[in-house]
């Protein structure tokens, strides 16, 4: 049994979903109510691999909302994630992916220090951030979408925004080791971490966002923040491939400009329909086929019976692990999203 811990994208979205699903007690409530709401298993999921193997999973709604971070309700935010994890474990789920902001909150607030939740001792080996698969899929999107647009990687400048994060650093490692990209621009807030990454890679230019973007043929956006950043599309190269691998995804609607191609990053398409209701709720274009790569990682770990925290901690993702998860991703019929 695999699990997914997810959440809705805003208070307004949460209220609308609660109304649609017929939970009036939750529909008309403000942020205070959601700050006290418990986690719930709201969907069961059946996935069939192209090998014919079938698995089952459960979707745990954590009741976390991004407004909790924006309004400094940090304790509530962290309770949501820890309680959702305890809920998943209590229901016997073997491997659960921490979706959306869940893994970010877990890392940022060092929730690994919390091992005891009421009468449950959290077993972290039952959880994965899903970041290895997300990083792998973003890299495949860079390789395959650039080809579609006629951008030659061997001549391209790639800017990675959020380069020192778990996913960002993994993307840099892959681009460095597995492609012939000549120029890597590293963008992040923390100078010390940037320098550490640069020395690990043995290359890469550390730059500010505004300085770097006009130079890039490909922008990989993997920074996560409750509120997005405005990018002026007129300053970008044409063509420019913009891979929006951050959370939440809002570049596609914000940036509409000729010659700028925005691709939702870290999204996979499965070859067969998945039986679930939840992906239409999180606004996927093709809800039966498309999903976050981090969610797909828990499915892959279940297919392979690798019941272990495959992706865990920060900056631990190696190219070898990305290859390992990539092989089983292909084996079971997942492909990187390539439609703009």
């Amino acid at each position: 049994m695999f699990g997914l811990i997810g959440h809705l994208t805003s208070l307004e979205h949460a209220q609308a979903v609660a109304r649609d699903l017929g939970y009036p007690e939750y529909a008309d409530q403000g942020l205070d109510f959601w700050c006290a709401a418990p986690p719930q298993i709201v969907d069961t999921i059946k996935v069939t691999s192209i090998t014919g193997q079938q698995i089952e999973g459960q979707y745990v709604e954590s009741c976390f909302l991004p407004e909790m971070l924006a309004n400094r309700r940090i304790k509530a935010a962290t309770r949501k994630i820890i309680n959702a994890m305890a809920h998943a474990q209590k229901h016997g789920i073997d491997i659960t992916a921490l979706g959306g902001f869940s893994s970010i909150i877990f890392e940022n607030f060092n929730l690994n220090q919390i091992t005891q939740v009421r009468n449950i001792k959290l077993e972290f080996e039952r959880f994965t951030t899903g970041n290895t698969h997300t990083a792998y899929i973003i890299c495949r999107q860079v390789e395959q979408a650039s080809k579609k647009l006629g951008i030659e990687l061997s001549k391209a400048t790639v800017a990675v925004c959020g380069a020192t994060g778990d996913i960002g650093s993994a993307v840099c490692r892959w681009l460095n080791a597995r492609t012939d990209v000549p120029e890597l621009l590293l963008i992040a807030r923390d100078r010390d971490r940037l320098e550490a990454l640069q020395s690990e890679l043995g290359r890469g230019k550390i730059m500010g966002l505004e300085e770097a973007l006009p130079l890039a043929d490909i922008v990989v956006w993997v920074a996560s923040m409750p509120k997005g950043v405005e990018i002026d599309p007129t300053t970008l190269k044409q063509p420019c491939l913009l891979i929006d691998g951050g959370y939440p995804k809002n570049m596609g609607t914000k940036i509409q400009h000729p010659g700028i191609f925005v691709l939702n990053g870290g999204i996979v398409e499965h070859s067969l329909d998945i039986e679930w209701k939840i992906m239409s709720i999180v606004n996927m274009d093709v809800p039966a086929r498309q999903l976050f790569a981090c969610f797909a990682e828990s499915m892959l770990l279940e297919f392979e019976k690798w019941h272990t925290n495959f992706s865990w901690g920060r900056n631990q993702i190696t190219v070898a692990k990305m290859e390992q998860i990539g092989q089983v991703s292909v084996k079971h019929g997942f492909q990187p999203l390539l439609s703009f």
Binding site: A36, P38, I82, N119
Partner: protein, 231 residues
């Protein structure tokens, strides 16, 4: 529960803390006393379960003594009058149901609502308790799970014939619990316990109990949030 921002160290000996503690401590003592009495009375309604219920009632008595010691340890006199008033409505609903033989209502009040609330409150209290009270409370909370289990098992075995009464008793009593919680939220805050964390832990525990009895997720979401916003 998680404490992320470095919480200021609590001084257990200030007048503000001891004043708040005099009411919270009294509630806990009164709660354990009433739980003792309720289980003794339930034993008369459920003669087949008499031995188990009497043993549960004895545990509640022991808990009461433990919490009295916690008050003495901080040199606090519990405000028992406040506590009796605090429980009056729930107590009345239990006593009204008892002579009419409404076992389901009695079990819902004592074995589910009160026990779930106790578990939630004790779990939230343990990380912020003084060292003496922490030890006592850790011992108590383990017992309370077994009390909750008694109600769950009985109601599960009688699910079909009792579900209407469970829902009715839920509607009658849960709004009272939210009001009780609001009444002490400021005192609880002084002790380092946040209302929203208490509500969340209660809803988790109560939701699990309803699920074990046989209710669906949809029922649970409706029942466990009943009256919360109005309170």
């Amino acid at each position: 529960m998680p404490q992320l921002e470095a919480s200021p160290a609590i001084d257990f000996h200030t007048e503000t803390y001891k004043d708040a503690y005099s009411r919270i401590n009294a509630i806990v003592i009164e709660g354990e006393q009433e739980a003792h009495d309720n289980y003794v009375q339930l034993a008369e309604l459920l003669p087949n379960e008499k031995d188990r219920l009497i043993s549960l009632s004895k545990m509640e008595s022991r808990h009461k003594k433990g919490f009295e010691a916690c008050g003495r340890n901080l040199e606090v006199t519990p405000d028992m009058e406040f506590a009796r008033e605090f429980f009056a409505q729930l107590h009345k609903n239990f006593q009204d149901a008892l002579p009419e033989g409404r076992i389901v209502t009695c079990l819902l009040i004592q074995s589910l609502i009160i026990e779930c609330f106790a578990i939630a409150a004790y779990n939230i209290y343990i990380p912020v308790a003084d060292p003496f009270a922490r030890k006592i409370t850790e011992g108590v909370v383990k017992d309370e799970y077994s009390h909750l289990n008694f109600g769950e098992v009985w109601l599960k075995e009688h699910f079909e014939e009792s579900r209407t009464e469970v829902e009715q008793a839920n509607r009658q009593n849960l709004p009272i619990v939210w009001k009780m919680l609001n009444q002490v939220k400021d005192d609880a805050h002084i002790l380092g316990m946040e209302k929203e964390a208490l509500v969340e832990d209660f809803m988790i525990q109560y939701g699990e109990a309803l699920s074990n009895i046989g209710f669906t997720t949809r029922d649970i979401m409706r029942m466990s949030a009943y009256g919360l916003v109005a309170a």
